[in-house]
């Protein structure tokens, strides 16, 4: 195997390859791969690290797992070059940021080199339960609202890929990470054949064929994206559930009709009802009540009524 190329732009005679080609013999090449637990971040970084090492580079690949498996944010730093000291990439020094999920890509943007960093991000949105905590009528989803166009305006070179949809079309949604490897491969000076060898080594035997297809798809996509006008974008802007006009919720409890059966307390999704000292239903936290009417519907004695009134001057729509 030949050593890494340090000059000359391309190995396969293709023009228009991204500029961050490996001058890694002098300065380490820094690739940050991020996503959500279970998406295959570690597999991508392992394949890259294996490939770089097979080309004779010193490679450090650093990740933190443990809690990460539980749907948390996952990241893996891959650094390779003639000599690599720190296993982690310093902020602002990543040559390439590969994100398997949209909001995770945004989170790590400060790690990207301002003047030359390449941003490759799946537009897939994995909305965490935390984004749905405010259930007040009209409250918006708490998910990143930045659009691909906005992000691309702020990075040296940016690609928003709908890799998950591409993988789905191949019949295996889980190959989305390999679509992104395809996109990444175009920015590094390893040949397609070498990448395919690396991928075959790290995906389950049964899925090698579909993953190689995913790789080629991702590689072709980014080559095309580079030649097209920068505005042309395959992925649609993500549609987020919007905020509606805020309403005020008022609970009317007829004390004389309540027979302390406790049903409303048990069914309240916001857990904001209880029985008071006289064992009559009472609303403990009016700010929490979303007016879902479960208590009204299920009260056997019609003791609870929910009133929803337009609230003129409330900023209840703020998350």
């Amino acid at each position: 195997m030949s050593g890494p190329k340090t000059s000359r732009s391309s190995l396969e005679g293709e023009k228009n390859r991204p500029a961050a080609a490996a001058a890694a013999a002098r300065e380490p090449m820094n690739v940050l791969i991020v996503g959500v637990g279970g998406q295959g971040v570690i597999m991508v970084s392992k394949a890259l690290a294996w490939l770089a090492q097979s080309k004779g580079f010193e490679v450090k690949q650093s990740e933190v797992h443990g809690m990460a498996k539980r749907g948390g944010s996952v990241f893996s730093h891959v650094r390779f070059g003639a000599q690599v000291f720190s296993p982690t990439i310093p902020q602002g020094e990543a040559d390439i940021l590969v994100a398997l999920e949209w909001a995770e890509g945004l989170r790590w943007l400060p790690y990207l080199k301002a003047e030359s960093g390449i941003f490759i991000c799946d537009t897939k949105r994995i909305v965490p339960p935390f984004a749905c905590l405010n259930r007040r009528p009209g409250a918006p989803l708490r998910y990143s609202r930045e659009t691909p166009a906005e992000v691309k305006a702020h990075v040296a070179e940016g690609y928003a890929v709908d890799a998950t949809a591409m993988a789905e079309r191949l019949g295996n949604e889980r190959a989305a990470n390999v679509v992104l490897i395809g996109a990444l491969s175009s920015a590094l000076e390893f040949s397609a054949a070498e990448w395919e060898k690396a991928i075959s080594a790290f995906v389950p035997k049964k899925t090698v064929a579909v993953n190689l297809e995913a790789f080629r798809l991702g590689r072709a996509w980014i080559d095309e994206a580079r030649t097209e006008s920068p505005q042309a974008e395959a992925s649609p802007e993500p549609r987020l559930p919007g905020a509606e006009a805020p309403v005020q919720v008022r609970l009317e409890i007829t004390r004389a009709w309540c027979k302390s059966c406790d049903i409303c307390v048990k069914v309240c999704p916001e857990r904001c009802l209880r029985l008071d000292a006289e064992r009559i239903a009472e609303l403990t936290d009016p700010a929490k009540c979303t007016g879902c009417r479960l208590c009204e519907f299920l009260c056997p004695d019609f003791a609870i009524r929910v009133h929803r009134e337009a609230s003129p001057e409330r900023d209840g729509a703020r998350a």
Binding site: E58, V64, P90, E173, P241, A245, V247, E270, T290, C292
Partner: protein
Amino acid sequence: MRAVPQQAEESQARQDVRPLTGNEAIARGAWEAGVRVAAAYPGTPSTEILESLAEYPAEDVHAQWSTNEKVALDVAIGASFAGARALAAMKHVGLNVAADAFMSQAYIGANGGLVLAVCDDPGIHSSQNEQDSRIFGQLAGVPVLEPSDAQEALDLTRLAFEISERFDTMVIVRGTTRLSHTRSPVAVGERSAPPARGFVEDPGKNVMIPAHARRRHVAVVEREAKLKAYLETAPINRWETGAANFGVITAGTCYPYVREVLPNASVLKLGASWPLPEALIKRYCESVERLFVVEELEPVIEREVRALGFRAEGKEFFPRVGEFSPEIVRAGFEKAGVLAPRAHKRAWTPEPLARPPVLCAGCPHTSSFMAVRASGARVAGDIGCYTLACLDPLRGLDTTVSMGSSIGNAIGIWRGGETRPVLATIGDSTFLHAGIPGLIDAVYNQANITVLILDNHVTAMTGGQDHPGTGKTLRGEESPRVDYEALARAVGVKWVRTVDSYDLAAMYQNLREAIAHRGVSVLISNRPCVLDPVKIKGPALAVDNEQCNACQSCMNLGCPALTWGDDTFEARHKVKIDGSLCIGCTLCAQVCSVDCIKPAAKVNS
């Protein structure tokens, strides 16, 4: 020093170079050194050391999961008594559990080489604190070797066995999360197992009664002096010369950060952070005008250097809390005036999305904590995935202290005058680790508490390791399973029941009855983890969008497969299910107030 790529390729041809994590390298080093017995209790970031050792031939090394770290260390100590090389591995807080055995064994020393791999977690990625284990070395008079990368992890682990036998001492190999989980190239060697030494009868050394221990303490102090003398010239310390205007003493994973930001500075890299080679440090301090000590967590080396009479600068520039990074080390040197401040280019930084770890879709803990929350009890929690139930929306536990604490805490909370019912929630592996003495205490002292054992048939948090309740050993051999019901009855618990975690109504009902029982009651919530040992996947459910009234009852599960759809009802978001995440546990369907959650096939038809 690492070679440039071309040379690296040549040397690769001669030598077997593999990409290994720090943990894999420690395991490899132990195997090469001829380790015969290894034991551990899983704990992030140390878990993979034993998993990796179990991949070597069973004839070479007996590798086992122990019920807790103290047992693991005792097993290793026993093997050392028998003359075999032995290793125990644990995370930093595991050493607290093993501390009793550790402190005594420091007096006894080692017959067969005895190595303790301890992995600290600066930055608290997956722990309850970030204590600095090097201080345990100081406390016990046991040497602490600190690898800075995977190659050193292998080399120092091999060396640790030699030091152990040569100086008659247990040796700590101390890593951190960053070492454990960073993969870098390692030149591996062959196994060279020394002949077994056999058991050496020596009660004055091996039996720690006061008369013997007094003499052994003298031996520990003398041993420390010998180790110091050895470390003065040991090749594991590296004096890398540079300009004399300032110098840096560092060790372990801080070294690469220092080199990253100061590639040409004068550095004294210590291979052991205890004991310290005083003469070498003196010579080094005298060679530079200004001296910095860069170390994560506690100022262990810095204090010693100051005690030698040198003005060392360290913790005023480099924080005592959290994990280091090149940025933090750079910032420290900038503050100290050694590096020119970099022009701060403020990158465009969108507000990051909060994404804390959550219980998996279909996690049986979800229903347990739905029932716990509805019970209105005061809840003492424990260590495991279920600690995540402290977060909204489950918000089902009030305290978490350490492994197995929940039951003792619950007894104390009840004795302390809590008027609500008191509940302890504890996972199966944690219960076996340190929960059983607490349960016996509760029965013995006639506490009125309920213990909810969350039995998911695996040590889930650390990635699915076996334990005495799974019926399998580390190497996958069949072994007897602990019967929790029988165990609870045997220690005197009168009210014991097992319930299917996925049967939400049964969970609510049985928990209520358990709480109503006066005295100690034990309820076992029983369902396997959805990830390990086999990934469970059933037909996904879907929401009938027409029917959903957006009441949010299902959102109280905190299930990652449930999220808000595009539609609303009375300005509240209707719910949708991510079919790729849903495993079909039906918990959401069980809480749905309008029965709009059904098998996906039915909804779509």
